[in-house]
Symmetry: C2
Subunit: 137 residues, 2 copies
DNA sequence: CCCTTATTTAATAATAATTATCTAATAACA
DNA sequence: TGTTATTAGATAATTATTATTAAATAAGGG
């Protein structure tokens, strides 16, 4: 289901701004901040406001098609969710990458059992030095 | 090695404020924010300033005896590190608890292999509804 | 034990990220 | 096409965090 359908489903309006922000996230693998998205979009949408970016990101989060990452620093980053996946941050250059591994069902089940929580989601962040930064030392 | 020794080791001064902030973290399992720590301490140290709390937390982070958690919201939380452990956030009441499980060596190795990173650390956050909140629905 | 000095505290200002407010613009639907 | 509720955009407000600076103080040498 595309973003348009999702928005209509929620009784929200389909606007060019919303579509554009989602497109940026889909086409960009750098896990941008709200401000980065704003900068990227500004050339095509000179009237776009940063507040609109924030409001739209909140909305997209609610729909569940994007997620917010809190991987340190003091700004949130955003990411489309094709399926849940861990992230890794290079502590030298600040780059954030997707990881193609998953938590074992086993671990998640153990988490449910030991915590007693009804677990709905998780975030796994690794921190380290990327190969490029390692070579340039 | 206690905090005093660690500080001396780094050539830093041992001050009552630093000890007090660390004590709060050790005796408090709620993963407090800087402001919460400030409030807790204020009764004993009426002259304590919030800036001192922040600076001390940064210092304690550097020593490696505490860690900063970025588990959403827009405020950091802090935690002593007896050993690395996952955390779980109740999305109803906002409580954050330690979890007594660990990532398998297997998974970490796979992460190293597939990413090529020199992995130094990780954070694993689960999100769900705690038993208490579930019952009071 | 006191003096000296570099470090730290505390108060305050500054910055940065995010949220709230409010008016003009616009998507949706009759 | 017109009406209306929603949204965008501009701006102000709020919140978290960091920087600045003068006064206070811990640590080591005499």
């Amino acid at each position: 289901m595309g973003l348009e359908a999702v928005l209509r489903d929620m009784g929200c309006k389909v606007t060019p701004q919303r579509l554009a922000i989602y497109e940026v996230l889909k086409n960009c693998n750098m896990h941008p901040t709200a401000e980065t998205i704003y900068n990227i979009i500004s050339s095509d949408y000179p009237t776009m406001s940063l507040a609109t970016v924030y409001k739209t990101l909140d909305l997209l989060k609610e729909t569940g098609i994007i997620q917010e990452l809190n991987i340190g620093g003091n700004t949130s980053r955003y990411d489309v969710i094709p399926k849940p996946h861990p992230h890794i941050l290079c502590t030298k250059c600040g780059k954030i990458e997707n990881m193609d591994i998953s938590l074992s069902k086993n671990l998640v089940n153990k988490a449910k059992r030991t915590s007693g929580y009804d677990i709905q989601n998780f975030q796994l962040y690794f921190f380290g030095v990327c190969p490029y930064c390692r070579n340039s030392e």
